[in-house]
Amino acid sequence: MTLAVVTPYTVPAGLMDVLQAVLLVLVALGATAVVLTRAPVRQVIVLSVYGLLLALLFLAFQAPDVTLSELTVGAIVLPLLLLLGLAKVRSREK
């Protein structure tokens, strides 16, 4: 399908390709970093950054709705819950 329509949101195709490729590489690295970080609290922070990267990738995939959810859930609420859980666990390890 040829897409000649230009809208206010159209990003030049070449630029979009580069943007997506860069974000995909960053997301792959982010996932690896989450898994390889073994210190719990630091891992939560890495996970939060990973959520942010995913949100940016989704924006580049033209999915602003999902970006918003991923930002609120993946980068804020889940890390918060995980930190609360860790606080509980660590307080007992004292």
């Binding site: 399908m1 897409l3 195709a13 997301v27 996932a31 996970l47 859980g85």
Partner: protein
């Protein structure tokens, strides 16, 4: 670019599973499970993407503008909610496990259980 996003999907899945398998801490394991699930978001959105198309909002663009698939986005939203729900529940289990066992190492949990 035709296959690259899908290679990233497989990589995220493999890395996440590696984390689950080698995990010695339940909190770590839960976060690796989140990574595993995130591979499904990337896959869903990549599958519904169309080069050069706009996001499926027709507030200020005409309805016939080529747009990416809105369905996969709705599915991903559901997937994100599932992630939040399952993670909250797993965290509750982990907190309770730590109370009962005093550790979060999956291997020690089994030994202590008897």
């Amino acid at each position: 670019m035709h296959i690259f996003p899908f290679i990233v999907v497989v990589w995220i899945l493999a890395v996440g599973l590696y984390g689950v398998v080698t995990s010695r801490h339940l909190m770590h394991l839960i976060m690796c499970l989140i990574v595993v699930q995130s591979s499904t978001y990337v896959l869903l959105l990549a599958v519904g993407y169309r080069t050069g198309a706009v996001a499926p909002y027709f507030f200020d663009v005409p309805v016939h503008t080529p747009a990416v698939d809105p369905v996969v986005q709705a599915l991903t939203l559901t997937d994100v909610v599932v992630e939040a729900a399952v993670t909250a529940l797993l965290l509750a289990f982990a907190i309770q496990a730590h109370k009962r066992f005093g550790t979060l190492d999956p291997q020690q949990l089994v030994q202590l259980k008897g």
